[in-house]
Amino acid sequence: MIQIEKIYKRFGKNEVLKGVDLSIPQGGIYAVLGPNGSGKTTLIKCLLGLMIPDEGTIKVLDKPIKEQWKYREEINYLPQIANFPGNIRVCELIRMINDLRKKEGNEDFLVKLFGLEPFLDKKLANLSGGTKQKVNLTLAFMFDSPVMVLDEPTSGLDPASLIALKKLIRDEKQAGKTFLITTHIMQFVEEIADQVIYLLEGNIYYTGPLSGLYKKTGQNDLEHAIAAITTETRHA
């Protein structure tokens, strides 16, 4: 489904991705983990074409994505920080994205699920962080696309919405979709992820099921396993 080959990306002197190789088959939930600044968001942005890698190729559905845009019809993206134009209303934003993607969205269901009805006529600049994130989630989930890329989906959500989100992700997975999720909430990963991709200093440290990561680090819960890797490399 997604092939990433030898991706390099640097910002000035700071080399963020150092030859990342990754292959993601169709279906399942992949958690992209790693300490702050390990290149998770950069990798995801390269996949979406928001950033342009210095070297390497990325293929989505077997087609290279360089200077392409059509392939984004197959991807739904949830950005990390919900930056929206402030002076438009929630309902206008939803309508606009619907219009731009030329697809039927199931926004009514999502608006209800996240309890956004009272906010539809409010301007985005006046929403709280959590509510913005719900709008963000609505926009990301409203189309039926085979690949879902979620960057920190849980940030700012209340417990009720978090439960709704987890159910939503599981339901969509049942429908055969591929998820790529970055997060720092390890409990969330343990609950929903099938596979873990662990990025460390711009390289892939580990890919595989959660149990493998436990074995590799000799720990028996994810939080400690991750912390063990981070401190181990810091001492080295």
């Binding site: 942005k45 929206f84 134009p85 002076n87």
Partner: protein, 260 residues
């Protein structure tokens, strides 16, 4: 691209600044006509204001609009849309709405004054065309600055400097060179120097059309002698076209390579 244009235009039509700009021109038109009491004189005065003010407003407005649309651009980039069409749509939206303000703001008072019955309609249209060119050109330059500068304050500073250079400093340097090298033949130099500044180019273009030799000055006379009136106007328009296309092309090229 048309959809982006639609949304950016809609967004701008909602912004207070488009109306401020429109009202400013409306007021300017009425005041000039009231003071001059004569259409062709008002056109000349207007020219002097347009060649300086339109670049300033277009640069500042263009850069402000880009920085304010950062979020909108990031949202659009994740959608299945071509980068070129996103940036072209935004550019046309902002340049189009500014041109519309200029056209309506000046057109209304002049039309009410009886522009259509007078012989000045051609001169006036050329003035509006030049104003539109300047709007598009300086919007393009502003986009270049905005795309290559993440830091808003820096970008804003460069934009103001660009305007100051083109509108004021350039002419000063030009004049200084003419004085310092007055013993040498300067025809070619002045011709080239005029072409290299869209503001000078616009001024000469309008003066050629108005055919006021007293106002043409050395460069204008030079331009006229070299091209003749008709050819002069056509070539000046052609140069303005280049001035429009080159910044647009470079800004799109930059946008294609940029990381968001």
């Amino acid at each position: 691209m048309l959809k982006i244009l639609k949304y950016s235009f809609k967004d701008l039509m909602r912004s207070r600044w488009s109306y401020v700009y429109f009202l400013f021109y409306l007021l300017l038109g009425f005041v000039l006509l009231f003071l001059n009491n004569d259409l062709s004189k008002a056109v000349i005065t207007l020219m002097n204001i347009i060649v300086v003010l339109v670049p300033l407003i277009s640069t500042i407005f263009g850069i402000m609009y880009y920085y304010n649309s950062r979020e909108f651009i990031e949202l659009l980039l994740a959608q299945p849309l071509k980068r070129t069409s996103i940036f072209l749509g935004l550019y046309l939206g902002v340049a189009g709405s500014l041109t519309l303000s200029l056209f309506l703001g000046l057109g209304l008072p002049f039309a009410l004054y009886g522009l259509f019955k007078s012989g000045d309609i051609l001169n006036f249209s050329l003035l509006i065309i030049t104003g539109s060119f300047l709007t598009f050109i300086f919007n393009g330059l502003a986009f270049n600055i905005a795309i290559s500068n993440e830091n808003r304050i820096k970008g804003f500073g460069y934009a103001v400097l660009l305007w100051l250079f083109m509108a004021v400093i350039y002419d000063g340097l030009f004049l200084l060179t003419l004085i310092v090298f007055e013993e040498y033949p300067l025809d070619t130099f002045s011709l080239v120097a005029t072409v290299l500044n869209p503001i000078d180019l616009s001024r000469i273009l309008i003066l050629l059309e108005l055919d006021i030799s007293a106002l043409l000055g050395y460069t204008g006379a030079n331009f006229k002698a070299f091209f003749g009136t008709r050819l002069g106007i056509t070539s000046a328009l052609l140069m303005l076209m280049f001035w429009l296309l080159i910044p647009l092309w470079t800004s799109i090229k930059q946008a294609k390579r940029k990381d968001f």
